[in-house]
């Protein structure tokens, strides 16, 4: 199955990004395709390369980057949501790109299921 993933919450404050990551990882392990991971609302903060959690905690940003690299995932950060929150190109961790909300709608059209994580 082809999945689109929508992450609507920032890292650490909320489990949504962790759940989305685990879902994406599990779907890939089962041989499913991830069409795109889209970051919206505070979810854009998942792309902030300056994030530096304590060493005994999971590194949410780096984890997405690494999964993205391994599976050539399209990790897209919403431009309007990102600009509001000060996330710009120079702050993006490896593997993320900034683009328009149209990329989310397109993911909804192209995927068999669009799965949303957040409140």
């Amino acid at each position: 199955m082809k999945f689109g993933i929508l992450v609507n919450e920032g890292p650490f404050n909320h489990q949504a990004s962790d759940s989305a990551y685990k879902f994406t990882e599990a779907a890939l392990a089962k041989g499913h395709e991830i069409y795109r991971v889209f970051f919206y609302y505070d979810g854009v903060n998942n792309a902030n390369r300056l994030s530096e959690p304590p060493s005994d905690d999971r590194h949410i940003v780096k984890r997405w980057s690494e999964l993205g690299k391994k599976h050539s995932l399209d990790l897209v950060v919403c431009v309007a949501a990102a600009l509001r929150r000060g996330i710009k190109d120079e702050l993006l961790a490896e593997g993320f790109r900034i683009s328009g909300l149209g990329q989310l709608i397109e993911a909804g059209i192209q995927s068999d299921r669009l799965v949303m994580f957040g409140d």
Partner: protein, 131 residues
């Protein structure tokens, strides 16, 4: 900054999108950013539906004044939706009644349906997004 991608009208695929609004308009940013998704999916010529349940019904309540909280009112956007061919708006009857509201308290024409009908409607959608 990258440009916002132009909608791709070439795919020809039209899906039923539902935006499920569950939250009051100004306590969090969800309602505002849902509206942004609504407008973009309309630009992609999708079959857009908006539903208002729980505190989401307050989003379209008449007489909002946001001056005191220094936030821009996006109430006019709901009135403008018709211009984007977004005309399928649904309010859950129970949510409205629980909050002491009637259809006359709302700024836009909506279809009022009960909880069971709302459930069926959500079931019939291809993509459900919300906040």
């Amino acid at each position: 900054m990258p440009q916002i991608n132009e909608p791709d009208h070439g795919t020809g695929v039209v899906k039923k999108f539902m935006y499920l609004n569950r939250k009051a308009p100004y306590g969090t940013v969800y309602a505002l950013e849902v509206l942004e998704m609504v407008l973009i999916s309309a630009a992609f010529e999708q079959d857009v539906h908006l539903a208002f349940v729980d505190d989401g019904v307050y989003q379209i309540r008449k007489g909002q004044d946001t001056k005191g909280v220094e936030m821009k009112s996006f109430l006019p956007t709901y009135r403008a939706l018709e211009g984007y061919d977004v005309e399928k708006l649904y309010v859950e009857k129970e949510s409205m009644e629980e909050r002491g509201l009637t259809a006359g308290d709302l700024v836009v024409p909506v279809e009022i349906i009960d909880r069971a009908a709302m459930r069926s409607l959500i079931d019939s959608m291809d993509v459900v997004l919300g906040g």
